[in-house]
């Protein structure tokens, strides 16, 4: 099977290519990136005027299976991923049951094999049941295929246990991802602590609850000489702490999510639960700091923290509603609109944050268009504008923070292992001018 993508603007951050090129994929791998490739390909895509870049690697995704198939499944989540240009996801272990034993990983791998539409990598839990009491069998989890461990949704409060986990992770060569939150400081908060929580009469989540735990987790990792990744950084102090740690040589990486660099706490003032997430949306100053962190490289990656929830769990009183928003289908467009279109990042920079860097952090042979790497490629129309609508989302859940927003940039093709895995066909309604979306899933 040979696939030729012609005349696209090829963005390959690993080889520092930003030029009009053809790409030939053969037998699932990148065969050649050059001008005017003449080759009898089985399928040719004309990418004139389009961006051709590595498929996105989203290192923070809640697929909800097993246990909460009403919110999302591996099938529905990975379809949504492809539609958003994400060809690889790291599935978080806070399922029911949690991914905390080798047997549960076996079960998960079985579902992935049967139903996944994109590459799904597995993160397992640090502690049994993610309860922070007792470590999982990290060596066995790693052997069974977990590429990271995290208690995401919770932090391991017990510092000694965390230290032990980091030492074992180092030994087993598995990445530790931290949801850094001190719950004794964030105690039952639901929005950022400050004027917003005061105005709304809601309990606040302090910035300290995040950055003090970021500091602790980095220090523990340094002592254990283990690499550590801080997930969903939301505030300026965390960025400063991570910058300082990097400067002194700590092996720390971090990511943030599109909602944190594009929205601030003012969005919550109408009590819309689609702006309720943990960590919470912070201040306008934090948004500036996050953008700066993306520009200067302190923030390595962008991940969606795709957190699907049913309407029954979201469309209720603010304090009772679940934390989190879906993001797989919008993350690239939000990043293009907020970062590339504004000149903050160029396309190479964007491809680093959303493909190459997360792949490197996770040790995957992805995020690059270098010869012999996996042919996971996306073709993006950078100029296409669209409005996020519930009806257009193919994730099982519709809890997006960007409903009604006009975004720029749409994925036309997602290519997985050299094969077209999804194709979005857009058509503007001839009378209303409204853009309707048809997501055609070719592997379904």
């Amino acid at each position: 099977m040979k696939l030729l993508i012609k005349n696209g603007r090829v963005i390959d951050p690993e080889n520092n290519i930003d030029q009009i090129r053809d790409i030939l994929a053969e037998d699932g791998k990148i065969a050649k990136v050059a001008q005017n490739i003449r080759n009898g390909a089985d399928k040719v895509i004309d990418a004139t005027g389009k961006i051709v870049m590595p498929g996105l690697v989203d290192m923070h995704v809640h697929l909800r299976e097993p246990g909460r198939e009403d919110k999302e499944t591996i099938y529905s989540g990975t379809r949504a991923a492809l539609k958003g240009g994400v060809t690889s996801v790291l599935a978080m272990p806070n399922t029911s049951p949690a991914i905390d034993t080798a047997e549960n990983i076996k079960l998960l791998k079985c579902i992935i094999k049967k139903t996944a539409q994109a590459n799904v990598f597995i993160a397992a839990a640090i502690t049994k049941g993610r309860l922070g009491q007792e470590l999982t069998e990290i060596a066995r989890l790693q052997k069974e295929g977990a590429i990271a461990i995290t208690d995401d949704g919770a932090s391991v409060d017990n510092a000694q246990l965390m230290q032990e986990a980091l030492k074992l992770a180092k030994k087993e060569n598995i990445l530790v991802i931290c949801h850094s939150e001190d719950r004794s400081l964030s105690a039952r908060g639901v929005v950022n602590l400050g004027l917003t929580s005061t105005r709304l009469g809601l309990r606040g989540i302090s910035r300290e609850s995040e950055y003090k735990r970021v500091e602790r987790d980095i220090r523990l990792a340094e002592q254990a000489q283990a690499p550590v990744h801080i997930a969903h950084v939301s505030c300026q102090e965390s960025i400063e702490i991570i910058a300082a740690a990097k400067k002194r040589g700590a092996r720390v990486t971090c990511d943030t999510a599109p909602h944190y660099f594009s929205l601030s706490e003012e969005a919550v003032l109408g009590y819309d639960t689609n702006f309720k997430m943990n960590p919470p949306l912070r201040s306008a100053d934090d948004v500036v700091a996050l953008k700066q962190g993306l520009k200067n490289g302190v923030i390595d990656a962008i991940a969606s923290d795709h957190a699907p929830h049913t309407e029954n769990e979201k469309d209720i009183e603010f304090e009772r509603a679940e934390f989190g928003v879906v993001g797989l289908e919008t993350e690239l467009a939000v990043a293009i609109t907020e970062l590339v279109d504004t000149g903050l990042l160029d396309w190479l920079g964007l491809a680093k944050k959303m493909a190459l860097n997360p792949a490197k952090i996770l040790g995957l042979n992805k995020g690059t268009l270098g010869a012999a790497s996996d042919a996971d490629i996306i073709v993006v129309d950078p100029a296409r504008e669209w409005v996020v609508e519930k009806e257009g989302l193919i994730s099982k859940s519709k809890n997006s923070a960007f409903l009604g927003k006009r975004l720029k940039g749409q994925v036309e093709y997602a290519i997985l292992g050299g094969k077209i895995a999804s194709k979005n066909e857009n058509s503007r309604h001839p009378r209303t001018g409204k853009i309707s979306q048809v997501a055609e899933n070719l592997r379904a």
Binding site: A187, R188, L193, G194, L195, S197, T198, R199, L200, G201, L202, G204, G270, Y271, N312, D315, I316, E317, F318, E319, R320
Partner: protein, 298 residues
């Protein structure tokens, strides 16, 4: 009618003026007008409340509306019905106004988004209690003659108080200077950005005040966060006759009730010459009549 943050000065003044004419109704032998005849008001109370519920009920009845009271203990809420479903069912009964008290902040905003009939917020969590603030302001205006330029101190548990928030919005919109006074631990962060001054010294709060609104200290509150000890609170922040003697002679003393005598104020102050606490209760009916009347016109 979800909060005073959303109202303009003109709208607040309209409610106050309307309330004045309804106050006159209270002095008649037959305290009833036919303004809301044929309308149905549903009091939907998710939190135990006596005075606010009764006040709204009396107000609606004196406007000749039909009143239905729903308390959560007796409703299908106990069977797990969501707030939105409850609201839509009330709407399907062709009620005209829902008056809701809810323990969660933002509940009234959410309900209003999902029903097309009028919603009056009778207190939501720590967020707003607009009719309480309106009756406080109405009473103060009645006593002093105006609101513009007055110094009003709000003393007590500001962090957990919807009364405080609504008073800050309402008073500042009408041109009063608001000061909030409490131990640091129960002052919410950045509240000064809502347009008020913060003090932790009760004598400072009373010194130039034309009025002091004393909030109930809810020591029964189920909070993990630290809270001042009762006796210490009274010693440092309680309103006593001695402290009041240092204040302006005709300072207006208000309290939304129910009072903890000997905790936030002494009995002498509660029953003293400066207290307008019972007048607040009376005025509450006129103010709520005005709100129901205006909401029904909208």
């Amino acid at each position: 009618m979800l909060g005073l943050e959303d109202l303009t000065r003109e709208e607040i003044e309209l409610i106050l003026t309307t309330a004045e004419s309804f106050k006159e109704v209270q002095t008649r032998e037959i305290k009833k007008v036919p303004a809301l005849r044929g309308k149905t008001v549903v009091n939907l109370f998710y939190e135990p409340s006596t005075r606010t519920r009764v006040s709204f009920e009396v107000a609606a009845k004196r406007l000749s509306a039909d009143v239905i009271n729903i308390a959560t203990e007796t409703s299908s809420v106990k069977k797990g019905e969501t707030l939105i479903d409850t609201g839509r069912n009330i709407e399907a009964l062709k009620a005209d106004i829902i008056v809701m008290r809810h323990n969660y902040s933002g509940a009234a905003v959410m309900l209003a988004r999902h029903v097309s009939i009028s919603v009056v917020n009778a207190g939501d969590g720590w967020h707003e209690h607009p009719t309480q603030a309106l009756l406080d302001i109405f009473t103060l205006k009645e006593k002093v003659g105006h609101i513009e330029g007055l110094n009003v101190s709000i003393v007590g548990d500001i962090a957990h108080s919807r009364v405080a928030r609504s008073n800050i919005w309402g008073l500042t919109k009408l041109g009063a200077k608001v000061l909030v006074c409490a131990p640091k631990i129960i002052i919410p962060p950045e509240i000064e950005k809502m347009g008020c001054r913060v003090s932790h010294d009760i004598d400072d709060a009373l010194k130039n005040a034309d009025a002091v609104n004393v909030l109930r200290m809810q020591f029964e509150r189920d909070e993990q966060a630290a809270f001042p000890a009762q006796l210490e609170y009274f010693k440092n922040f309680g309103i006593t006759q001695e402290r009041l003697a240092q204040a302006k002679k005709d300072i207006v003393v208000m309290h939304p009730g129910p009072i903890n005598r000997g905790i936030e104020m002494s009995s002498g102050v509660a029953d003293g010459a400066n207290s307008v606490i019972l007048e607040q209760v009376t005025n509450g009916i006129a103010v709520r009549m005005a709100v129901l009347f205006l909401v029904a016109q909208a």
